[in-house]
Symmetry: C2
Subunit: 355 residues, 2 copies
């Protein structure tokens, strides 16, 4: 059994609480499936590290993290100490870019025992993927400010889309759609208002569609698409989107599926040239940090995605089933946000036991 | 009684059906309140016009429309004939920009008789405004394409925010918040990922907040904000956003309030230097056009906003009350999308009679 080396980065806030819960479940899966998971912990990508060193990451982070098989990440951000754009651009967004994790994969699924805020939606009605481009698009630090501090002050921010970048995320999404029974792909656009980048996106979708004739493709402008997530969540199967639109849809998606607190994500380099990174969709949640009340399920489910990525689909499924079973039983075992009485650590142990 | 000159532009698709219904209601309000509304119809800003003339607007449109007191607009877009970015940039977006309609005001209100897709939400639970910047931001035609047609193809799209543009929309939103009992303003940002324009937006929000100390201000990143629209719609009072974020929030807003079909909007030049434009939030809906099934309430409610803007708040309120009464009674009087059996024209007449 090959050793899997995992870099563990708890980060800030509730990241430090949900990561240990997630590790407990990974340990249980490792024991059950005889896996050899080896963890190494890193304290950087955190506000504490920033306060001490004046930067989010040490100089050698790339070489240090690169040999790992995966990165298990909590959350970053502590705006009281570091402005968000500095903490995020200084850490998570660097990982995504330098490790070329160009796919951000986010399952949107109404889980058993979870109540959707949408009236009358049951398990099975909401079950799709958001595939988000994760390295370029609207997230850039290109641009600048002119006439600073005056009435004429003007700021420019540039969006960059490359054929390489757009085509590879579309290819991943089309191929994912081909593995699904409905073979249905929805593209998020805004080509009626954003008149250069989004028509280009549409053009590449059309080109990619011609190579995947069995996939049923449609396209919505992002405004009406968010409305349709609420009005018709059952319409969707695989939704592919640019960095910003994917960011929006993958928070809205978990919301319609009940809660952001349990949603997982993978930042994936499909070619395996660099480590992929797995993290919950929620952030560091300063408001509830340090109280042992955070819901660890997003972190645990992200662990399941990581096991799948590491070539252990059975272990991955077992973790996900354990989560589903515990959610379906409900009651006191859950954390307070779901009406239970467990602390973060306790719910982690309950799911680990279930595994 | 001063004459009010209104330019009527039905545009495309269901625009041509809902505009007459809206005019019928305006006529009823004019009769009831002894108003002198004078209409002039224009066939441009439509695909038909484009097919005949190779452009969306005639050369003299600016001088022609400028003297009007307001523009009553249906919808534009017919992608089978003209790509959306051409039809929209060639018409509606020109009006917004050249007539400096820098406020896009969109009430989000759960109306009596309408069912929200959100479980357990009642009339009164959802009642807020989205104030959208309407002239700059992410909607530009600045940028270009390099290495076209090759593997190295790269596209750049620029977002532009100016102090003038940002400050005036914030001022409008803060002043609107000051008229509301809760005096609560929410800013939509994404300064953790979009690292030049959105931190600038945040900076200007902070500056404007310091001049409006009685307004209670908060700020959410657009991703979690869309989630909160679904999870906590009762949190919001006045939401201010950039052009793109406002576009998204003002489609998502009507969706949580039941349907896009009835939502209105005003594209407003608050100083009255140019005509303001009133239009439903929905588009031209090619799929249902020409069938007399479109819901005219978005167009009618937009007429109410126009009356208010023209300095006739009583007539405006009467139209809105008529809409509310007809919605509250429900049943066959409504269009099929709301479970009724009326055609577009018939529902228009019913609301006109109610006025
Ligand atoms: C049609 C489109 C360009 C327009 C926009 O994005 O502004 C529409 O969605 C709107 O909200 O008025
Ligand atoms: C924290 C932030 C920069 C990040 C993003 O926008 O990508 C987060 O919202 C996410 O979705 O992972």
């Amino acid at each position: 059994m090959a050793i899997r080396r995992i870099a563990v980065i708890p980060g800030d806030g509730i990241g430090k609480e949900v990561v240990p819960a997630g590790i407990g479940v990974l340990d249980a899966a490792a024991a059950a499936f005889d896996l050899d998971l080896e963890y190494e912990y890193f304290d950087y990508a955190s506000a504490d590290y920033y306060v001490e060193h004046g930067k989010m990451l040490p100089d050698g982070w790339f070489e240090e993290l690169r040999p790992f098989d995966a990165i298990y990440f909590g959350a970053v951000g502590w705006p009281e100490v570091v402005p968000d754009h500095i903490s995020l651009w200084g850490s998570l967004l660097q990982f995504r870019r330098h490790f070329d994790q160009y796919v951000n994969l986010r399952p949107i699924r109404l889980m058993p025992g979870v109540t959707s805020p949408l009236a009358g939606r049951e398990v099975g009605d909401i079950d799709f993927y958001v595939v988000r481009e994760n390295t370029e698009g609207e997230y850039t630090d290109l641009g600048g400010r002119m006439f600073a501090g005056t009435e004429r002050e003007t700021v420019i921010q540039e969006t960059v889309m490359s054929r390489i970048g757009v085509d590879r995320i579309l290819k991943y999404a089309f191929e994912l759609a081909e593995t699904r029974p409905k073979r249905h792909l929805t593209s998020a656009t805004k080509s009626n208002g954003i008149s250069i980048s989004m028509p280009y996106w549409d053009e590449r979708v059309a080109a990619m569609a011609s190579h995947h004739p069995t996939v049923d493709v449609d396209s919505y402008h992002i405004d009406i698409l968010t409305a349709n997530f609420v009005l018709h969540p059952d319409w969707f199967d695989v939704v592919v989107a640019s960095n910003l639109f994917g960011d929006i849809l993958s928070d809205l998606g978990p919301a319609i599926a009940g809660t952001i607190g349990i949603a997982p994500s993978g930042n994936i380099n499909p070619e395996g040239l660099f480590p992929s990174l797995f993290e919950p969709v929620h952030g560091s949640a300063p408001g509830i940090a340090g109280k042992n009340v955070a819901n660890p399920i997003g972190q645990i489910w992200s662990g399941s995605m990581m096991l799948d990525h590491l070539g252990e689909p059975e272990a991955a499924r077992t973790v996900l089933t354990a989560v589903e079973n515990v959610l379906a039983r409900g009651g006191a075992a859950l954390t307070a946000d779901m009406g239970g009485t467990s602390g973060t650590d306790e719910l982690g142990r309950i799911i680990a036991d279930e595994v």
